[in-house]
Each structure stands twice: as C-alpha cells, then as structure tokens.
C-alpha cells in the first residue's frame, strides 16, 4: 500500500451507520484501484507529492470557531461547510428548499463504477468511503443559494464533504459556490447536481485556495429542456484538482461551461471537464482560459463525448492560455470522442503570451508598462466572467479579478 493510502485509508475509522454498505463499496474500490500516479492518464500532469509529504489527521478534527465569511453580492440561502461540516440548521431554510440526509438505499443502488471508473477516480472513491454526511438539497421555485466552503488556519485534517442538489422540474437556481482555505489539509469534495425537466441553473464557482490540497468533483445531469450554465473562477492553490462532468441526458438539454484560472507563485491547478451528449438534439459550449505566472503549472483537459445515435448534437470547446513568466507551464488536452454521424463538434486551443503590438499601442497612448499589462490581462481574463448572468455576481467576480491581477 502506498504512503498516501496508508495516510488516507479509512478502514479503522469506518462508521457504522446507515451508509455503511456504501462506504464499504468506496473502500473496496479504493483498495482495488489505488491512488493515481503519473502513469495514470488523467493524472499525468498532476503529481500528488505535496499530499504524500503531509501527514493529515483523520481523527479528531481540529475544530473551533468556523472561519469568517465575506460579504456576498446577492442575498440568498447560505450553506456553510466549515472543515467539511455543514454549519446551518437544515430546518431553517427558505420555503422551497429542503435539506436532508441522502437516502442510504438510493446511494447503495447507484452505479458508482460507471461514474468514477478506476484509479483515475480514486478521490471520488475516497469521498464515498470517508464522507461524514451525505446531504441532499431539493430546490423548487426560484432561489439563490450560497454554498461556502472554508477551513481555518488550524486545519490539518482530510475532509470529504458530499452534497447532491436536485433542482426539481421548472425550478430556477442561482448557485454561488465560494471556496477558500487556510491551513494545510485535504478537502475532497463531491457535488452532484441534477437539473430536472425545464429547470434552469446558473452556477458560479469561485475558488481561492492557499496551502491546502483541494480535490473537487462535480457531476451534473441535465434533463429535457433544462439548462445548466457554470462559470468557474479559480484563483489557484498549492494543489487543486477539479473534475467537472456535464451529462446531457435528454433531448433539448443545454449546457455551458466558462472557466478562468489565474495562477501565480508555486500554484498547481488541474481542471478536467467532460461534456457528454448521451442523446441527440442537445447543445453544449465550453470556453476555458488560463493565465499562468510565477512558477505555476496549469492543466486543462476538456473532453467532448458524443454517444452513438446522439444525432443533432452540437458542441464546441475553446481554450486559450497565456504564459506570463518564463517559469510557468501549461499542459492542455482538448479531446473529442464522437460516435455519431449527424453532429458538429469542434475544438480550438491556443497557448501564447501577451501581444507585444498591443502592449506597444497602449504604451504609445501614455500608459505605463504595468498599467498596460494589467489592462491586457484583464481584457483576456474578463471574457469568461462576462458570461455570468446575474449582474451583481458578475460585477463582484470582475472586482475579484481586478484584485487577482
């Protein structure tokens, strides 16, 4: 067993509760597949050395006062996970929002093998084996939910929050997910979003990580005539890995991903996105941008997968990346896997640096070099954030971008 498995293996701590059978499956698969190494295709650019060198505590958690929360640009229902533990009272949510523990039987019946696969899904198996609580949030009507995930300076544990958000038919959800960390632990989060017929979800995911290792998986299922749009704004971290899978399950489903990663220093950010057209008459679009400065490493793997008979599916993926320093690296892999004839699928990818001519133009108009650079970077980076539909959140994200640049 690897050092990492020894640190994170939960056998001794397996809780005997209603989820015991599910946890057992997670544990079994983890034992069977092991943790990924650089020969694992999906992890080839993301070594886990940082995590291996740390000794995270499994029990007891370092708990104290929850981390302070910032002001939000919109009013909404707050779900606050501090150190992986939900801080709010499920009974006090607004009408139309129901928060409850996930049904153990439903979890047992899920085909997680098809979802998580083998070694590449090790952290998802770990989450399944180690979650404290599996939450289930049901949304009907129109709501704004702010889901904040925080840790404090004393954080040195590994935590595995898990939540399923079910957006019921015709409902509208604005989900602002804001994540930040302190301390040096592992946050291994699993989030499932089910967008039922005719429902609409606007998801804004803002991450600003520091020294913790942050692994997050988001699985989104989009049903008939439903829409899901996510804008991810990632300001990097010591080691962060996001897996975002969007499945267009039924005809006329629509999904969009816009992403922006701004990295500096020793940060390592790895984004793996997958758009799966399970059926025909579905549309998707993805645009992803990365700015890498310092000695940072950015990884982007964007995959479009169109099933057989998913005719009349249309998908487009575009990724543009800027290297801002001689020491930074960017590794990208836009993939197409197409098994249906009557589709259009395309991707485009570029890696480059800021345009000298544009810089010269701005300097000739009297701007300093720093101002010109900032303006050019902002121009490049703002575009994905402009896709945020809610004006207040968009302005807030753009302010954060200015701060980051």
């Amino acid at each position: 067993m690897s050092a990492l498995a020894q640190t994170l293996m939960p056998e001794a701590q397996a809780c005997a509760d209603d989820y015991e059978a599910t946890r057992k499956v997670g544990l079994q698969r983890l034992m069977q597949h092991g943790f990924p190494d650089q020969k694992t295709e999906a992890w080839k650019y993301t070594p886990l050395r940082v995590l291996e060198q740390r000794e995270t505590q499994t029990e007891p958690r370092t708990m104290g006062e929850p981390a302070a929360l910032p002001a939000w640009p919109v009013a909404g229902t707050l779900l606050h996970f501090d150190h992986g533990i939900l801080q709010c009272d499920p009974g006090e949510l607004a009408e139309g929002l129901t928060l409850m523990p996930a049904d153990p039987k439903a979890l047992e019946q899920r085909d997680f093998d098809a979802l998580y696969g083998g070694r590449e899904g090790a952290f998802s198996w770990l989450n399944l084996a180690r979650f404290d609580h599996a939450w289930h949030l049901q949304v009907s009507g129109e709501h704004t939910v702010i889901m904040a995930t925080t840790t404090t300076d004393a954080f040195s544990a590994d935590v595995h929050p898990r939540i399923r958000i079910e957006v019921l038919p015709g409902a509208r959800l604005t989900l602002l997910q804001d994540q930040t960390d302190a301390g040096q632990g592992l946050v291994n989060m699993n989030c499932e979003i089910d967008v039922a017929e005719g429902a609409q979800v606007e998801h804004v995911l803002c991450c600003k990580n520091h020294e913790s290792v942050w692994v997050q998986r988001t699985d989104v299922d989009i049903h008939k005539a439903a829409e899901y749009r996510v804008v991810a704004f990632d300001r990097g971290g010591r080691l962060t890995r996001h897996d975002l899978t969007m499945r267009l399950r039924e005809g006329t489903a629509h999904g969009e991903i816009d992403g922006l990663v701004v990295m500096d220093g020793h940060q390592h950010v790895d984004w793996h996105t997958e758009i799966v057209h399970c059926t025909g008459h579905t549309n998707s679009r993805e645009a992803f941008r990365m700015l890498a400065g310092g000695t940072s490493v950015g990884v982007f793997n964007g995959r479009i997968h169109i099933f057989p008979d998913a005719d009349d599916s249309h998908s487009d993926l575009n990724t543009a990346n800027l290297l801002l320093s001689d020491q930074a690296r960017v590794n990208i892999k836009p993939e197409l896997e197409i098994y249906s004839e009557e589709v259009t699928a395309s991707h485009g990818a570029t890696i480059g640096q800021l345009d000298d001519r544009s810089l010269f133009y701005m300097r000739s108009r009297g701007l300093s070099e720093a101002e010109s650079l900032a303006l050019l970077k902002y121009g490049f980076a703002a575009e994905p954030l402009m896709q945020i539909q809610t004006p207040a959140i968009r302005d807030w994200a753009l302010e954060q971008l200015k701060e980051a640049l």
Binding site: E41, P308, D309, D311, N321, L323, L324, S325, D326, A328, R329, V330, N331, I332, K333, P334, E335, L336, E337, I338, Y339, S340, E341, E342, V343, T344, A345, S346, H347, G348, A349, T350, I351, G352, Q353
Partner: protein, 481 residues
Amino acid sequence: MSETVEKIESRLQQRYTAGFTTDIESDMIRPGLDEEIVAMISAKKNEPEWLLEWRLKAYRHWLTMKAPNWAHLDVPAVDFQAIHYYASPKQKNRPKSLDEVDPKLLETFDKLGVPLHERARLAGVAVDAVFDSVSVGTTFQKELEEAGVIFCPMSEAVQKHPDLVRQYLGTVVPHTDNFFAALNSAVFSDGSFVYVPKDTVCPMELSTYFRINARDTGQFERTLIVAEPGSKVSYLEGCTAPMRDENQLHAAVVELVALEQAQIKYSTVQNWYPGDENGKGGIYNFVTKRGDCRGDDSRISWTQVETGSAITWKYPSCIMRGDRSAGEFYSVALTHNHQQADTGTKMIHLGKDSTSKIISKGISAGKSNNSYRGLVRVAKKADNVRNYTQCDSLLIGKTCGAHTFPYIESANAGAKIEHEATTSRIGEDQLFYCRSRGLDEEEAVALIVDGFCKEVFKELPMEFAVEAKALLEISLEGSVG
C-alpha cells in the same frame, strides 16, 4: 434495389486488389522468439558482432516491457512465439542485377504497379523492393552512386558502410523507446538505408515497396535516412499484403537524421490488407517513425496516406533540435469496416525559433474507429516556437467513431501554439449539389472526400498523389447507400 446492394457488396469484396499471394518457395526460420532466433537472423544477414550484441540487448530489454495499452484501440493479444521472424524467397545469393531476380517476384511487383524493370526508367524513381524479410532488388543504384547517394537495403549497408550504420542506428529511436521498437531492434530484417552526402540534392525520388507474402510471418523492416548538411532527399514508401484470415504483424522502425540545412521529405501510402468486411484478418501495423532535425535550419516533412491495416498504431514524429528547424506532418487516415486507427504525430521543440505544422484528416466509415493522437511539446529553452495544428474528422455512417486526443505542453512563454479540430459528416447540401450535377452518390462522396484531403494530397509527389486518390476511392466503395 437489392441488385444495387449486391453490386456494392461484390465490389466491396474485391476492393483490395493487392490481396493475391505469390506462390514462391520460402526460406523460413522456425517460429518463436528467443536469443537463438535473434542470433539466427543476424547470422543469415552475416552481420558483425556489434550488431548481434545490439540486437540481443534490445531483445533482453523487450522481455522486460509490456505492449502499450493507452491507445484508443482494441488489440487482441498477439502470440509473439507463433510468428516466423524471418522469411525470404529461396534464392542462392542476392541477385546482382534485376535480370537475375526470380521472374515470379518481378511479376508480383509488376502486378502491384511497382516500377522495378523496364518501366523504372520511365518512372524515374529509384525503387528498393522488400519481399517478406529481404530486399529483392534495388534500381538506379549506379546512377545514385555517381551522385554520391547511397540507397541500398539495410543488410547491404551493414556490410558495405558499417561505420555509417553504426554511427546512426538507434540514435533517433533507441531500443528502449517502446515495446514495438525494442522488438524491431531485436529482429529487424532489411528496410532501406539512405545516405545523402553534404550539399547534394538527391537526383531522383527514392522509394521502397514492402510486401508481406509468406503465411504466419511478420515484417520488421528498419529504415535509416541520413541527410548531411545542405542535402535534400525525398523518399516514398508503399506496402501491401495478401488477403488472409489470420492477422499478421508489421512492426517497423524508421529513423531520419537531418543535419544543418538538410531537408528530408518522407511520404507513405500504406495499403496493408485491412481485413474483410467482418473484421477478419488484416495486418497489425505497429510502427515507430521519428525524424531528428539535428542541425540548425533543417527540415523534416512526413506525409502519410493510411488506408490499409486492421489496426494502425503509428505516430511519425519530429524532434526539432536545431535552431530554426522545421517539422511537418500531413496525414490522411481512412478507416472502413472494422478497421481501427490510432495515429498522429509528436512535435518536440527543443531548438529556438523552430516551427511545426500538423494537418491531419481522418475519415471513418463502416464500423471503424479512427483517432488522431498528437503531442506538441515546447521545451523551456525553445524560444519563439510556432506550431499550427489542424485536425479534421469526417464521419460516413452511423456506426463509426472519430476521436481526437491532442496533447499540448508548453514550458516557454514565447511559444505560440494554435490547434483547431472539427468533426462533421458529409453535408446533405454538398451531396445534393454534386448529385444535381449528375454524379451518383458514391462519386459525389469520393469527390467531397478528395476535397477534404486536398491539403495533404498536394504534399505528395505526383505519382503517389494519383495513387492515393485512387486508393481512397476504392477504400470508400460501399460506404454509402
């Protein structure tokens, strides 16, 4: 209606015109692979001790390796002990001229349209013909010698130019490179050796034609092309095999070395037997091809038209080591019936101001799967690199797959990399337009596919471009309707 279907079916059955067998007695060594077999192959070729040691080292390394499984391919297990690693048509000695070559062999190549004999002069292309494990004849050797160009079978080069072979063999694709390269290094037999001296423009196109004939054999040729500073050479290869129900293995290695300001253009029209319409038989084409732009301002260009093979695993690559060096890759890969292809290129930029261009066109029909897999890597010290990649896939039919897996790794802020990929089918409007001009559906598809591949075809030498176009049309027969 049923008559039309029958016609298409019967044409489909006949579409592989190179599938005949030549009834010729073969000298084969026993099947299986061990150190004794490696030594036997080396002895057959009368090789020096150093080359035998080199082969044995490769064989021992191969034993420690596993066949790659990362490609988007379903490869049935290959029994490496059931293959004859050496087979040659029975003849006393290598013929000194084409007049001494067994007429049956000449007839075979004549049937395949390879200009070995009197037609050779008209075609103006120097040809090396490789039949199973040996070269049976090389044309225009004298004329090339006058220009200082060496073009001969590898086994002859080992005897006549051992220093040159020893200096360059395995320097671009070492025996440790991958499973199939290690296997090839242990058991390779013939292939071509080309040496173009300094400031020499090779006076004619060089060409090698590979033919697998014997049953239960594989072909493991090794080609080495060295272009000295300021030289220029264009090389073409073609390949076919008989139609058989069993799968046969082709694991070749091609190494190209381009020194300062040298240019190598390497073109392939690959037409190995692809198997029947049910996926039975066909060649497993597991090939390692790599060019090293070793000198400043050097250039290597790969052009390939891949229509054959049951399974293709092939990534012709360029290492741009020299400053201002350039690599190019133009590819058309067509799969039909149950064929599988995972092919593409690697462009490794190590030199400053180096450039690369990739144009890849994949066409999938029937129940086939066609993948483009490419790597563009820019090293930290490679300033001011430029790469452009265009990668298009065309789907014909509802049961095939087209996939794209490009890896782009940049460690230099000055690099400018652009990649574009599209997947689409032949548009109804395009078909309608062609049909309204009097073309039938198959002709219309052939015309559209020809247009789709034009960017690659224009890179091929003229004779090959014509052959490639015809091959594509034949391969697509029966894919519509």
